[in-house]
């Protein structure tokens, strides 16, 4: 039996225990200090909210997920393609790559109000916003990854006159994949943030919108229920990307 076979048990038991302890403490606090439910509802109240109207949360989760997936797909496709072009045309790379790197510092959330003026409220605007947020880590990761191929591997392919396309597909692209995925992993987390912000400012549906409306009505239990669902959505996406990565990764 290898070490890996023996370790997982405590890896699961401890975190789950910690979570249960945290929920128990939460419950104990609300009960012992008699905190009014409109300030901090007990865990059971939040669970009751979820169970009482699952359709509300599922519909909104689906709306948020749709923005993340469509916006993410657009952002990843455009980011990856632009990185290819920038990498293939050195002149272009020298001209715009510094700005691509510098623009990463800009908080993209600050751009949302600008989008509101140009594109109005709606699904498309939200998609555009999520795509913008996803775009930067992917473009920078891909561009960096494409330069990662060791010179000696390129020599090897040149020594049999393999040609640029074959070299690209067989050696350059696989060498770049870890960096591409590092970018995508960053993007996923950002995409969830982007979707929620888009739902506050650029559209009227989804978990973000639900949280905002609940906040206006001081429905802390609804907010916590929506946040729990949002957390699950984020974890699901991150896990999905990690699984995809494991399927193609070599490092």
């Amino acid at each position: 039996m290898s070490v890996a076979d023996r370790v997982p048990a405590p890896d699961v038991v401890l975190p789950v225990s910690a979570l249960l302890a945290a929920v128990a403490t939460w419950w104990a606090l609300t009960a012992a200090l008699a905190i009014p439910p409109f300030l901090l509802p007990a865990p059971a109240a939040v669970a009751a909210r979820l169970a009482g109207n699952p359709d509300l949360y599922l519909t909104n989760a689906a709306a948020t997920l749709r923005k993340i997936l469509v916006g993410g797909a657009v952002g990843i496709t455009v980011g990856f393609s632009l990185a290819l072009v920038v990498w293939a045309v050195p002149l272009l790379k020298r001209a715009i790559y510094p700005y691509l790197v510098a623009l990463r510092v800009l908080p993209k959330i600050a751009v949302a109000p600008v989008f509101l003026i140009y594109f109005g409220v709606g699904f498309e605007t939200a998609i555009l916003f999520v795509a913008l947020i996803v775009f930067f880590p992917v473009v920078v990761g891909t561009a960096a990854g494409l330069d990662r191929t060791p010179e000696s591997h390129l020599d090897l392919l040149r020594s049999v006159d393999a040609g640029p396309l074959r070299t690209f597909l067989a050696v350059r692209l696989p060498h770049a994949l870890p960096d591409v995925f590092a970018g995508v992993k960053q993007s996923v987390t950002l995409a969830v943030v982007g979707a929620v912000v888009a739902e506050w400012i650029l559209s009227n549906d989804g978990l973000g919108s639900l949280i905002l409306v609940a906040s206006e009505n001081v429905q802390v239990d609804v907010m916590l229920a929506a946040l729990t669902v949002l957390l699950c959505v984020g974890l699901l996406l991150y896990g999905g990307v990690a699984l995809c990565y494991r399927a193609v990764a070599w490092d």
């Binding site: 060791p150 591997h153 020599d155 090897l156 020594s159 049999v160 067989a170 696989p174």
Partner: protein, 260 residues
Amino acid sequence: MISVEDLSVSYGDLRALDDVSLDIADGEFVTVVGPSGCGKTTLLRTIGGLESPTAGRVSVDGDPPEVAQADARLGFVFQDHTLLPWKTALENVTFLRRMAGKDPEPAGARELLATTGLDGFEDARPSELSGGMKQRVAIARAIHLGADVLLMDEPFGELDEITRDEMSVEILQLWRENRKTVVFVTHSVPEAVFLGDRCLVVAGAPAADGPDSSTENGTPGRIVAEFDIDLPRPRDESVFGSEAFGRQVARVRGALHDDA
């Protein structure tokens, strides 16, 4: 046959090789020995078409190296094993042949791996192989390519001495069985003597181009001595301890130090 005529190679203003001429017969095992930066790797890479001559010419069976590359007649083995980390040993062996546009022959590749002692490691990734095993895969890959000429650039440079000696014996066995022309660059004098039919000593260092370069900046790389190694074949580990081997090593060392 490989023919090098009045070859000079410069990188920008720096001349790495100056006026080198050399013929290598089919099936010959030629070793090139010299200190780091003397131009021996440049010579090998130019023969293989990875660098272009600044003056002079190189031909492989009468063709320029680029033509030989396209026909998959040149098999490189680098100091860095250059195995693709995401491919298994077997896939790495067949990979280069595929890149050359030839059909891979998995059966032949398996057999090659077996003769290099990698039985049972066909499906192992490079990260699961030792340094010596990786270099064995790289050598099998060059042979599987079907190249007539093996161009080896310090292939054992990163291996420990015990593994190096083992690999030297193995490469001679492979050479006997496959009858390739081999150009083998190394900075180990014993290795050069043990392996070669002929050992070329290269010395010099990159120097500024120009008419007065040799007086002001030292001399760029050139062949300063050439030795026929008349140790009987087949050679095995026992050669390392023989008196004749020691004498040859001393002669080659002498030539290297005379120049320095």
